[in-house]
C-alpha cells in the first residue's frame, strides 16, 4: 500500500513538471506517468487508440482581453484532436460551452464542435450555460440524453460513463450541488454493476474540494464518493477552474481540465476566479484538451496544450 501511494505521489510530481503533455497509464489502480515528449514513438503507440477526448470551458461569446478570440483557440483544440493518429469515437464537453447562455453563442459553439471527427459528443452544463431561466437554451440543444435533467449514463468499449450536473442548485458557500435525487439515481445506476467495470464520471464543477471561498467544490460530493469507492478504476473529470489540478484517492483519480478559452488564477490568487491575463505568447501553453486512451485493461490520461 505504501509503495502504491509513493508511486502515485511520484506520478503527481511528474505531472506537475510535465511539458507538452503527460501520459498516464492506470494499471491496477496505480498511475504510471510518461512524459509525452520523452516517450519513444513505440511507447506512445502502445498507449493505444484514444477512448475519448475531453474539451472544457470553451466560453464561446467571451471577447475580453484575456483572449479576444476564443473561437480561434477552440478551433486549434479541435485541430489537435482531429490530427490524432487514431480518432476516438467519443468527445465529452465538461461545460461552460458558452459564456452567457445566449442562443447565438450556443449556435456558434455547436457549429464549431460539429467539426470534431467523432461520432458522439456528450456534454454536461456549466453555470455559464444555464444562466437563463431553467437553462432553456442548453437543454433545448443538449437535453435529450438526460431527459432534460442534465445527468445520464452510457457505455462505450466496456467503460461506464456517468455524466452529472452540479451547477443547477447552489447551496451555502456557493459550492456545487448534486442533490438527493441525482445521488439516488447514481446509486441505482451503479447497482449490480461489476466492480471491475472502469467508471468515468464527469461534471462541470470539481467533485472534490479545491478552494471553497471561490466555490471550487461540490458540497455533497462525499456522498457520491461513497458510491464510487467500491469500483476498481474510477476517473473523475471536470472543468470549471481552467487549470489542471489532480489528485488520487484510493482507486479514484480526480482530474480538472484546462479551458480552450482563457486561464484562471491559481486558487486564492487575486480577488476572484476571473479571466487571467497573460502575455499573448504564453496563452496557448495555458489552454488545452485532454485525451484518454485505453491500454489493455487500463485508462491513460493525457493533457495537451494548444502551444
Amino acid at each position: 500500500m505504501t509503495d502504491r501511494l509513493t508511486t502515485r505521489r511520484g506520478a503527481l510530481r511528474c505531472l506537475a513538471f510535465g511539458g507538452a503533455g503527460t501520459l498516464f497509464t492506470l494499471a491496477g489502480g496505480v498511475l504510471t506517468p510518461l512524459d509525452l515528449l520523452a516517450a519513444t514513438p513505440k511507447a506512445r503507440a502502445g498507449a493505444g487508440k484514444p477512448l475519448f477526448v475531453q474539451i472544457s470551458d470553451t466560453h464561446i461569446g467571451f471577447n475580453k482581453e484575456a483572449n479576444p478570440d476564443v473561437v480561434a483557440t477552440l478551433e486549434r483544440g479541435i485541430e489537435l484532436i482531429n490530427a490524432l493518429p487514431e480518432q476516438p469515437a467519443l468527445a465529452i464537453h465538461t461545460g461552460d460551452i458558452t459564456h452567457l447562455s445566449r442562443a447565438g453563442e450556443f449556435d456558434q459553439a455547436h457549429a464549431l464542435l460539429s467539426r470534431l471527427r467523432v461520432s458522439e459528443l456528450h456534454t454536461t452544463p456549466g453555470e455559464h450555460d444555464v444562466i437563463d431561466e431553467g437553462g432553456a437554451e442548453y437543454f433545448g440543444r443538449f437535453g435529450t440524453p438526460s431527459g432534460r435533467r442534465g445527468y445520464y449514463s452510457f457505455d462505450h468499449a466496456g467503460v461506464h460513463f456517468v455524466a452529472l450536473v452540479n451547477v443547477l442548485n447552489f447551496k451555502d458557500k456557493g459550492l456545487g450541488t448534486l442533490g438527493d435525487e441525482q445521488l439516488a439515481w447514481v446509486a441505482q445506476d451503479l447497482k449490480g454493476r461489476s466492480r471491475s467495470t472502469p467508471l468515468v464520471v464527469f461534471a462541470h464543477m470539481p467533485l472534490w474540494s479545491i478552494y471553497e471561498p471561490w466555490g471550487w467544490g461540490t458540497g455533497d460530493a462525499p456522498q457520491l464518493m461513497t458510491l464510487l469507492k467500491p469500483f476498481g478504476s474510477v476517473t473523475v473529470l471536470n472543468g470549471h477552474i481552467h487549470q489542471i489540478v489532480q489528485k488520487v484517492e484510493g482507486n479514484i483519480t480526480f482530474h480538472t481540465a484546462r479551458s480552450t478559452a482563457y486561464p484562471q488564477p491559481a486558487p486564492g490568487e487575486g480577488p476572484g476566479p476571473g479571466p487571467l491575463k497573460v502575455p499573448a505568447e504564453q496563452l496557448p501553453g495555458m489552454l488545452g484538451v485532454t485525451s484518454v486512451a485505453r491500454r489493455h485493461e487500463a485508462l491513460a490520461l493525457s493533457d495537451a496544450t494548444l502551444a
Partner: protein, 109 residues
C-alpha cells in the same frame, strides 16, 4: 416645432447625465456595484417603491437572482446593468448564479 423639441431633448439629456455625474462624486443610494466578485454595498436599505440598479464593473459576467424568485436578471456582461423596483417591504436575499458565493441583501422598509 423642431427647436422646442430639441430643447426638450437637451433637457432630458442633461437629466439623464445628472445621475452619472453624481456617480463620480458618491454612489447613489439605490445602486449596487459588482466589482471583484462582490456586491457593494453588500446590504442596501431602501424605501418601498425604490428602483435598485445593479451595475457590473467586472470583466466576468454576473447575474442577480432573488432567493425567492422575486427578480432574476439575464447575464450582465461588463458595464451592463439590471434594475428592479421594490414595491413590497421585506428582506430580499440574492446571489449571482454564476458565482453563487456572491451574496447580497436588499432591505425594503
Amino acid at each position: 416645432m423642431r427647436a422646442p423639441f430639441l430643447a426638450t431633448l437637451a433637457g432630458l439629456t442633461a437629466l439623464a447625465l445628472a445621475p452619472i455625474a453624481a456617480v463620480s462624486a458618491a454612489p447613489p443610494a439605490n445602486r449596487i456595484t459588482i466589482k471583484d466578485f462582490m456586491f457593494a454595498p453588500v446590504s442596501l436599505t431602501i424605501k418601498a417603491g425604490t428602483t435598485v440598479t445593479w451595475v457590473n464593473e467586472d470583466e466576468e459576467p454576473h447575474t442577480v437572482v432573488s432567493a425567492t424568485g422575486a427578480f432574476r436578471s439575464a447575464a450582465m456582461d461588463t458595464k451592463e446593468s439590471f434594475a428592479f423596483k421594490f414595491d413590497k417591504p421585506g428582506e430580499y436575499h440574492f446571489i449571482c448564479t454564476i458565482h453563487p458565493q456572491m451574496m447580497g441583501t436588499v432591505i425594503v422598509q
